[in-house]
Every structure is written in C-alpha cells, then in structure tokens.
Symmetry: C2
DNA sequence: ATAAACTTTCAATAAATTTTGAAAGTTTAA
DNA sequence: TTAAACTTTCAAAATTTATTGAAAGTTTAT
C-alpha cells in the first residue's frame, strides 16, 4: 500500500466513525486530513484534497476550531490562513469528551433532575415505573458525567494505567 | 407537572440524546416509552402514543430487539405481541456499549491495525506524521475497547465503585 | 481611496435518512 | 380450507441534514 492510499483509507474510516457517532462526516474527514498532514494546510488545499466547496470547508474548519481540535496558523508575510490539528490523540479524546459532555450530556442531566422531582402516588404502577427509570438513568448519567470530568483532568498514562490496575 | 407531561418530556429528551449520538430519534423514543411503561405494550399502542406508522413501529421494535434493549412478550390466549424494555439502566448501558463496540469500533480498529503496518521512509515527514497519528489513535481505540470489554463483564457497583476508588 | 487577496455567509440545491402505508406474508382458530 | 388477526416488507414520499457557490464582507498593500 502507498502512503497516499493509506491516507485516504484513514480519512474514510475516520469519516465513517464520525458519522456513526453523530459527527458530520466531512468534519471528521477534514480532521483526519489535518491529522496526517505534517504541515498546516490552507482552505484551498483542503477543498481540493477532499473535493468539497469553499463554503463547506470554511464552516467545517470553524466547527473544528469550536471543538478545539484544530487551530489557525499565520505564516509571516502571507495573507492566507493555515490550519493544523492537534496530533495528540489523548488530547483529541479529551476535547471531544468535554464538548459532548457540555453540549449533550449536561442538558439531559438537567431535565432528568427535574423529572426526578416529580411527586406522585407510589401505589400507581405507572408512577413507580416512571420514577424508577428516570431515577436510575439519572444516576447512570451522573456517573458517566463524573467519569468524564475525571478524564478531563487526568493525563493519559495515569488514567489508563489506573483503570487497568483495578482490572488486572 | 403531571405524570403524562413528564413522560413526554422524558421521551423527547431521550429521543434528542439518541439522535445526537447517531441513534435514530424514533428508536430512542420507542425505547423511552417502553422504559416508563409498567406494562408491555402492543405495536398498536406504540403507534398511537408516538403517532408513528405501523411500518415504522415494526421496524423500530425489531431494531430495538436487535440491540437487546427490548423483548417480546406473549400473553396467554392472545395473538398480539407485546413489547417491553429492560428497566435496569446499567444493563441498557452495557447492551448499547456492546453493540456499538462490535458494530462500529471493532471495524475501525481492524483498519487501523492494517494502516499501522504500512512501511515507509522514516525520514519523510509525511510518513512520520501519518504513522504517529494512526499508531496513537490505534492505541487509544484499543484502550477504549478494553475498557468497554471490562464494562461488559462487570456489574455496576463493582465498576463504578472501583473507578471512583482510584479517583478519591 | 482602490483593488486585490482572502474569508464568511446563506438561500438554493442536493444528498442522506427516516417514515409512510398499502400490499404481501404469516399464523391461528374454527 | 378459509378467513380473520396480526406482522413484515419495501418503494415512494417526506423530512432532515449537508453542501454548494456566488455574492457580500473583510483585511491588507499600494
């Protein structure tokens, strides 16, 4: 296999994984492209490599910056903006976990907290079932939230090292 | 707030969370409905409550059974099929983790393994960057995989208990 | 001030995904 | 058998989401 072919496979695989997990395919592909690029790339280069429009490239890059996965770079004497991705996969994981926790998990926990407080007749099976499901899922969601919070603070070796110590 | 209203909120929140994580909204909603129902429900009841078509209800229920989240129940003397959801949220989380690991994570790990083996010129920055990103992400993916595997075997109290011991 | 170089916006369009519903299929009872 | 009760299928339609590209906006150099 050639490097060029391997890069394409990587971009494709990353794009697919992204779309399966609710991250837009193009966004994951642009990220993958920047991950395997030693140099920062211009919007132009990204557009051409992935055959996407200027508008799409621009918006996707802004999103990626919003997720903290990609940064702008300015080269001295040039007007063009260059983009590069953090290559440390542990940082990537933390960044993604942090954003999704904030954007998706926390709003749900807020609703679950409200729903947990609903008062009703404990003899009513409908109420009891509702209460149990909501309370249980709320607990689970909070545990997940705590785990993510810890992950955000931890560094990789400590995190995985510690986890696997208890599983040895 | 009324129980009925609370149920709707729960179904809505669960549906939104699902769609943000690549699980079809209707599937998450049907699951939510079954979670808060003390009795098993018929396709008919699900269709009416969520205002979805027969075909959609049928396919969604099959999917949910495929994920191991919902089961059929037959009532003596009745032709109709009833459906109910496992109410134990830890089981739900394990089930979902197991399926997504198998369906989405494992195929990517397979590709990453292949790409890791690519030989090339270590002096070529393009090759070096590719190698580093792919190898690192591969390691991370494998760690995630191992963590999920452990989760699948563990029971809730042991899992979260152990995790938080090391974070105390 | 003007123009060139570059970036951003967003309405229109295209693509992907989800849903429908009627027809076909299956099972059970008589 | 036959028919009623129920489930499944899937092509077409609807909906949602992503993408385009040209126009508007911005910045820099002269």
């Amino acid at each position: 296999m050639e490097l060029a072919e391997a890069k394409l496979k990587f971009i494709e695989a990353w794009g697919k994984l992204g779309s399966e997990w609710g991250i837009n395919r193009t966004m994951a592909q642009v990220h993958a492209l920047l991950l395997v690029s030693p140099e920062a790339l211009t919007t132009e280069e990204i557009m051409e490599t992935l055959s996407i429009s200027r508008g799409n490239a621009n918006m996707t890059l802004r999103d990626l910056m919003g997720w903290g996965l990609v940064e702008k770079q300015h080269k001295a004497g040039e007007r063009k903006e260059y983009f590069f991705a953090d290559k440390d996969s542990w940082n990537i994981a933390r960044q993604v976990a942090q954003e999704r926790k904030k954007r998706e998990l926390e709003p749900v926990i807020k609703i679950l907290n409200e729903l947990t407080e609903l008062k009703g007749d404990d003899k009513d099976p409908a109420f009891k079932t509702f209460k149990k499901s909501v309370t249980d899922i709320n607990k689970l969601a909070k545990n997940v939230n705590r785990t993510l919070e810890t992950m955000l603070k931890a560094d990789e070796s400590w995190f995985f090292g510690s986890i696997f110590k208890i599983f040895k």
